[in-house]
C-alpha cells in the first residue's frame, strides 16, 4: 500500500474511528465494555458499574431524586437563557421581564418553563425527602447524607424565593419587604428584652440582605447575585456530595432480604459477570465494608448501562415533558410595576411559603425564624435519635408502619385544623388582652401550639411503642400534614387583609 492509499484509507475510516475513540473502550455491548463505559466516563462514574435490581424497582425511589435533578438542570439551562436579556436594575428590571415576555423570541415560553421547573423542583425535593424518610433511608450509614439533603431543601427554597423577587413587580417588591423584615424579626425578642441597642442580630441580617436600610437597587442586585451565582454554586457543591455519598454509603437503601425479594432475573440479563474482569484493583485494605459489593459477588445486580441510565433518562424526559406542558398551559405571573406606597391586597408569597405566611401572621419571629429552625433541627436530629435497624429499606418500616402513619395523619390534620379554626373564630391573645406583653404572644401563639402538640404526640408515640422510629414517623407525618393544612388555608382561604373567606367570591369589592 502506498503512502497515498494509506492516507485515503485513514481519511475514510476517520468518522468511525472518531466514534470508536469517543467510547474509549469500544461500544458498551459486553459486560466488560459496559463497565468501562461507566467508570471511564467523567459524568457517569458517579454511578457504580452495576446496579442492584432492587434499586431499579419503581417503588424504591419513584425516580424523585433524579426528577429533582432534572428540574434543576432545566432551570439551569432556561435560567442562563433568561440572563441574556434580564437586567438587575430597579429602573429597567420590570421592563426587561416584559421584553422577555412579549418581545424576545420564545422568551415567554422559556420563562414559563423556568418558573414551572422551579415549582416542580420544590415539589420533587419535598416528595423525595418524604420517600427517603418513609423508607428509613436516613439510617446508618446514611445519616450525614440526610443532613446534606436538608441543606439542599433549604437552598432550593432560597433559590425559589430569590427568583421570585427579580421581576420587580408588586409581588416581588412586597415579598422582599416581608422577607427582609422576617430576617430582622429577632428584634421582636430583643426589643421586648430592651437589648436591641447592644445586640441586634435582626438588624444585621436585614442590612446584609438589603445592602441598605430600605428596599432598593442594592437589594435587587444582592438577590440577583444570590439567585444566579451564590446559591447555584452552593447547590452544586451539596449535590456533588449528596450523589457521591449515595454511592459511598452503599447505594440506595435496600431491605435485608432484597436479594430474595427481587425475584429471578430475566433471561436476557446476566446477573453475574460473564467475562472475567481484566483488571483487579488492590484496594481491599482501605475498604471497610460500606461499599455494597464487599464480600459478595455481583449476583442480583445488572449493568448500570443500559438498565439504570435508561431509567434515569426516562425520568429526565418525563420531567422535561411535564415542565414544557405546564409552560404551554400557564403563563408565569407578572403583576404591576413595584409600588412602594401600596401593597398588593392580599399580598401572597409563592405557594410553598404560604404556610410560613400563615405562621408569621401569628408572630413574625416565631413563624419566620423560630418554628422553621425548630423543624429543621428536629428533622436533622432524626437519624441520630432513631438508631434502630428493623424495617430499614421498607416503606413505612414494614408491617404496622402504615397504620401508625394513618393515625399520625389524623392527629396532624385534626390538631392543626382545630387550632386554626379556633383562632379564626375566636381570635388570639392580642384581641382578648390588648396590653399583653409581646413576649407572651411570641412564645404562645397558634404556630407554637401546633408545634407543641406535634412534639407531645411524638413523645407519646416513643413511650407507647418504646421506639424512636415510631416517634420520628409520627412527627414527620404531622409536620407534613401541618405544612399542607397551613399552605391550603394560606392559598385558598385567605383574602384581603389576610381575613378568612370560604371562597374568593366572598372577597369585598372595592
Amino acid at each position: 500500500m502506498t503512502a497515498m492509499e494509506q492516507f485515503v484509507a485513514n481519511l475514510r475510516a476517520a468518522p468511525s474511528r472518531i466514534v470508536e475513540t469517543a467510547f474509549r473502550s469500544g461500544k458498551p455491548e459486553t459486560d466488560r465494555t459496559r463497565s468501562t463505559f461507566v467508570f471511564g466516563n467523567v459524568f457517569l462514574h458517579l454511578h457504580s458499574v452495576r446496579t442492584h435490581r432492587w434499586s431499579l424497582r419503581w417503588t424504591t425511589t419513584m425516580g424523585l431524586g433524579i426528577a429533582s435533578l432534572a428540574a434543576f438542570l432545566i432551570t439551569l439551562v432556561t435560567g442562563v437563557l433568561l440572563m441574556f436579556y434580564y437586567k438587575p436594575f430597579t429602573e429597567v428590571a420590570y421592563d426587561s421581564i416584559k421584553d422577555i415576555h412579549f418581545v424576545v423570541p420564545t422568551g415567554r415560553f422559556i420563562r414559563n418553563i423556568h418558573r414551572w421547573a422551579a415549582n416542580v423542583m420544590v415539589v420533587c425535593v419535598i416528595l423525595h425527602m418524604a420517600r427517603a424518610f418513609y423508607t428509613g433511608a436516613y439510617r446508618k450509614p446514611r445519616e450525614f447524607n440526610w443532613l446534606i439533603g436538608m441543606g439542599l431543601l433549604v437552598v432550593t427554597l432560597g433559590l425559589s424565593f430569590t427568583g421570585y423577587l427579580l421581576p420587580w413587580d408588586q409581588l416581588a417588591y412586597w415579598a422582599i419587604t416581608i422577607g427582609a423584615n422576617i430576617a430582622q424579626s429577632p428584634r421582636e425578642v430583643t426589643d421586648a428584652l430592651n437589648i436591641t441597642e447592644y445586640f441586634d442580630p435582626g438588624g444585621f441580617q436585614r442590612l446584609l440582605l438589603l445592602g441598605s436600610d430600605m428596599v432598593g437597587p442594592e437589594a435587587l442586585i444582592r438577590f440577583y447575585l444570590l439567585h444566579v451565582m451564590i446559591l447555584p454554586l452552593v447547590l452544586g457543591g451539596l449535590m456533588a456530595v449528596h450523589f457521591w455519598r449515595i454511592r459511598k454509603d452503599g447505594g440506595l437503601v435496600k431491605p435485608a432480604d432484597a436479594d430474595q425479594r427481587a425475584g429471578t432475573t430475566e433471561e436476557t440479563v446476566y446477573p453475574v459477570f460473564t467475562d472475567a474482569p481484566n483488571r483487579t484493583y488492590h484496594l481491599a485494605a482501605i475498604v471497610k465494608g460500606r461499599t455494597s459489593q464487599v464480600g459478595r459477588g455481583p449476583e442480583n445486580t445488572v449493568p448500570s448501562m443500559p438498565h439504570l441510565f435508561y431509567a434515569e433518562l426516562g425520568v429526565l424526559m418525563l420531567t422535561t415533558l411535564v415542565c414544557v406542558l405546564l409552560g404551554l398551559i400557564s403563563d408565569a405571573p407578572l403583576k404591576e410595576l413595584a409600588n412602594p406606597a401600596v401593597p398588593e391586597n392580599p399580598a401572597k408569597a409563592p405557594w410553598y411559603f404560604l404556610g410560613l405566611q400563615e405562621l408569621v401572621a401569628f408572630s413574625a419571629f416565631m413563624g419566620g425564624i423560630g418554628i422553621p429552625s425548630i423543624v429543621l433541627i428536629g428533622l436533622g436530629l432524626i437519624p441520630y435519635l432513631d438508631r434502630e435497624k428493623a424495617g430499614t429499606g421498607e416503606w413505612f418500616g414494614g408491617p404496622g408502619g402504615w397504620s401508625l402513619v394513618k393515625q399520625a395523619m389524623i392527629v396532624g390534620f385534626l390538631s392543626s385544623l382545630a387550632i386554626e379554626a379556633f383562632v379564626i373564630h375566636y381570635g388570639w391573645l392580642r384581641e382578648w388582652f390588648p396590653n399583653i406583653p409581646q413576649l407572651f404572644i411570641t412564645a404562645l401563639n397558634p404556630g407554637t401550639m401546633i408545634t407543641a402538640v406535634y412534639g407531645a404526640y411524638s413523645v407519646w408515640l416513643v413511650r407507647k411503642y418504646a421506639s424512636a422510629r415510631a416517634g420520628a414517623m409520627g412527627l414527620f407525618t404531622c409536620f407534613l400534614c401541618g405544612f399542607l393544612v397551613l399552605t391550603v388555608i394560606g392559598t385558598y382561604f385567605r383574602g384581603p387583609n389576610w381575613v378568612f373567606y370560604w371562597s374568593p367570591s366572598e372577597w369585598p369589592k372595592h
Binding site: W174, D191, D213
Partner: protein
C-alpha cells in the same frame, strides 16, 4: 530493618498519629482559625457602611376640611394625618410587623399582608404586630406642615393648629 522501639506492629495496623505534636497541631489550628477569620472578615464587605439616605422630611398641605377620624394620606407617602379638637398629629403607616403599608379605614388601620389592625392613634387592636404604629414629629400650623419620618414623638403629642 526492624522497628527498634515500642511493640512490634503489623503492616496492617494503623499508623500512630502523634497526638502531642504541639507544633503540628498548633499549625493546623492556626490555619483553621485564619481561614475562619478570613471568612468573617469577608462579611465586612457586603455589610454596607454608607447607606443611601434621601431626606426623610417633606412638606404636606392638609385639605381645608378634615373631619375628626378622617385620615389624610399625602400621595405616595407612608404617613396618615388626623385632625381633632386638640390638634393635628401624624401616624406612620408602615406596619410594625413586617413592613407592609397599612391602609386607613373607618376604625383605624388595616394591614393587607398579615391582618394586623390598629386604632386611629396607632394602638394594636388585633393581629401579629408587636408594637403600636409610631407617631411622627410634625411642625407647622393651620394647613401647612413639615413631617419628619426619621423622628418619632410619644403617642398623644398633637400640634395645635
Amino acid at each position: 530493618m526492624t522497628l527498634q522501639s515500642g511493640p512490634q506492629r503489623s503492616r496492617l495496623d494503623p499508623e500512630p498519629v502523634p497526638r502531642r505534636d504541639l507544633l503540628g497541631l498548633g499549625a493546623l489550628w492556626a490555619s483553621a482559625s485564619a481561614m475562619l477569620l478570613a471568612v468573617v472578615g469577608m462579611l465586612r464587605l457586603p455589610k454596607a457602611a454608607v447607606l443611601a439616605s434621601p431626606s426623610k422630611k417633606f412638606r404636606v398641605t392638609l385639605p381645608e376640611t378634615l373631619a375628626v377620624g378622617e385620615a389624610f394620606v399625602p400621595p405616595g407617602r407612608a404617613v396618615a394625618f388626623y385632625r381633632d379638637t386638640e390638634g393635628v398629629y401624624a401616624v406612620s403607616t408602615i406596619c410594625t410587623h413586617l413592613g407592609c403599608v397599612v391602609k386607613p379605614n373607618a376604625e383605624g388601620f388595616e394591614c393587607p399582608c398579615h391582618g394586623s389592625r390598629f386604632t386611629h392613634d396607632g394602638t394594636v387592636a388585633k393581629g401579629p404586630a408587636p408594637r403600636p404604629l409610631p407617631w411622627l414629629k410634625i411642625t407647622g400650623k393651620e394647613n401647612q406642615f413639615v413631617v419628619d419620618e426619621g423622628s418619632t414623638v410619644p403617642q398623644g403629642t398633637k400640634v395645635n393648629a
